[in-house]
Amino acid sequence: MNIPHIFNKRNRILLAELTKTDFKLRYQGSVLGYLWALLRPLMMFAILYIVFAKLLKFGSDIPHYPVYLLCGTTMWSFFTECTSQGIQAMVVRGDLIRKISFPKYIVVVSATLTAVINMLINVVVIIIFALINGVEFSFAWFLIIPAIFELYILSLGIALLLGSINVKYRDITSIWDVCIQALFYAVPIIYPISLIAESSIAAAKIILINPISQAIQDIRYLLITNETITTWDYVGEQNFFWKLLPIIITIAIFIIGALVFRKKSKFFAEEV
């Protein structure tokens, strides 16, 4: 992946135009149109809220639990959308790859950018909900930007890595669907991490080493309540390696993804 490519005018135009098209097409032909970008995660939140907060009484120890939950589901949707769309991007855009010559990562990035736009809209909603719920505004809110960025880099790394394999072996799409289902329960979105810590501290620590958990918990900590258990506070006592492990994993996945993608992208036109 040649860095100057990103700044190349032609590639920037292409990226912008493909992202616009993706976004337009996503809600094409639906009555509510772009509103679905908002409604879908809100509805998912409503279901989870009724089941877990009201029926199962999770999170009674966490202040502003509904917003806390919404924040988690939004970031989770962002992660799943980014990775699923990114992995399939090359196959979906196969006709372009077969017919014109351009840096292939543009296709993956444009697919993930649509998810970024959706997520940003939803962050606005979270902030409104948070204010209604009585969360005080703080300048620490702006620190969620690096945490979201980390989550994006992780998603992009996974999309590049699995997407380049998916060109030849389409099984990856299905395998990743299952992985996402499993991961959903391995990340403290619907349950508070304290629930796990009650029965096994080791398990809670392992869960928090997952970069997705770390990013989501950090965002909750910054945005909603500092009673959120974060990786930084909970894992590895004085050992910074353990505390930084999620970030190391993220960077490693991204680098591996980018390298594999670069190596394989020469043959996408023939294989897709």
């Binding site: 135009i13 135009e17 094409q28 017919k99 014109i100 010559s101 099984d171 036109a269």
Partner: protein, 258 residues
């Protein structure tokens, strides 16, 4: 797994009069045998020691050179390797062996209307297709009206593309494509579009390119070869069998069936 070690380099040398130089170009494809798609089959094949694909040599050592300003025709039967050659020149496929030097900015038209989406309106498709050809939005704004005028479809701008007839789509695509300005144009069989009147416009366009621009045209139409080309190349079974005067090459091509 060592394959595809050929190189394709783009240079911008204004002092040289060579536009494209191809040396000993080879290309083979791995064609999957039976059902080598999918992970299961791939693992099975590896365990059984089956390759799962068979190699097909498409290009077997091509050498040629194209001068700046030349209009070159590439002819050959279906499956002779013409399109593969064009795709390698365009940088879509990677050469397996050999070197390609492209001097200048190359604009390929492997197919008209790349990226056209039936769900988008004509207007949106024009901008998308323009971006794929390397135009900025401002550039597109400037030539927007001319595009529709040339295509003679002004009144359909805000219709979705799925409501266009296939002839209309091709006309629109062609009319965007000809805006592209490059030092070298690669055209794959895009001449024959539209009705007689539109055809005339296209011919005028190609005639206007003649002498001003380096053009590589892949075609089956010997009429176009003799009309537009300065030189022609005949490809058979991945090799150049004849190169030179378009009339002679056209005759040789036609005699392939005798």
């Amino acid at each position: 797994m060592k394959r595809n070690i050929g190189t394709r380099t783009e240079i911008f040398d204004t002092t040289s009069n060579v536009a494209i130089k191809v040396t000993d170009l080879h290309k083979k494809f791995k064609l999957p045998t039976e059902q080598a798609f999918g992970l299961k089959q791939a693992i099975f094949n590896r365990l059984r020691g089956i390759k799962g694909y068979k190699e097909q040599k498409v290009l077997k050592g091509l050498d040629f050179e194209i001068k700046k300003g030349e209009f070159i025709g590439i002819v050959g039967r279906n499956g002779s390797g013409k399109s593969t050659l064009l795709k390698i020149l365009a940088g879509i496929y990677h050469p397996e062996k050999g070197t390609i030097i492209v001097n200048g900015n190359l604009v390929p038209f492997i197919e008209l209307g790349v990226g056209f989406n039936p769900e988008l309106t004509g207007r949106e498709n024009v901008y998308l297709n323009g971006a794929l050809l390397g135009f900025s939005n401002e550039e597109m704004d400037k030539m927007y009206n001319d595009i529709w005028k040339f295509a003679e479809l002004e009144q359909f701008q805000d219709q979705k593309l799925k409501n266009y007839s296939s002839g209309m789509q091709v006309r629109l695509a062609f009319s965007i494509a000809i805006r592209a300005r490059g030092d070298i144009l690669l055209l794959d069989e895009v001449l024959a579009v539209g009705d007689a009147a539109f055809q005339q416009k296209c011919n005028d366009y190609f005639a206007s390119l003649h002498g001003n621009q380096t053009v590589i045209l892949v075609t089956h139409s010997m009429e176009n070869v003799t009309k537009f080309c300065d030189r022609a190349i005949l490809i058979e079974n991945g090799k150049i069998t004849l190169e030179g005067n378009p009339k002679i090459v056209a005759k040789a091509y036609e005699s392939l069936w005798d």
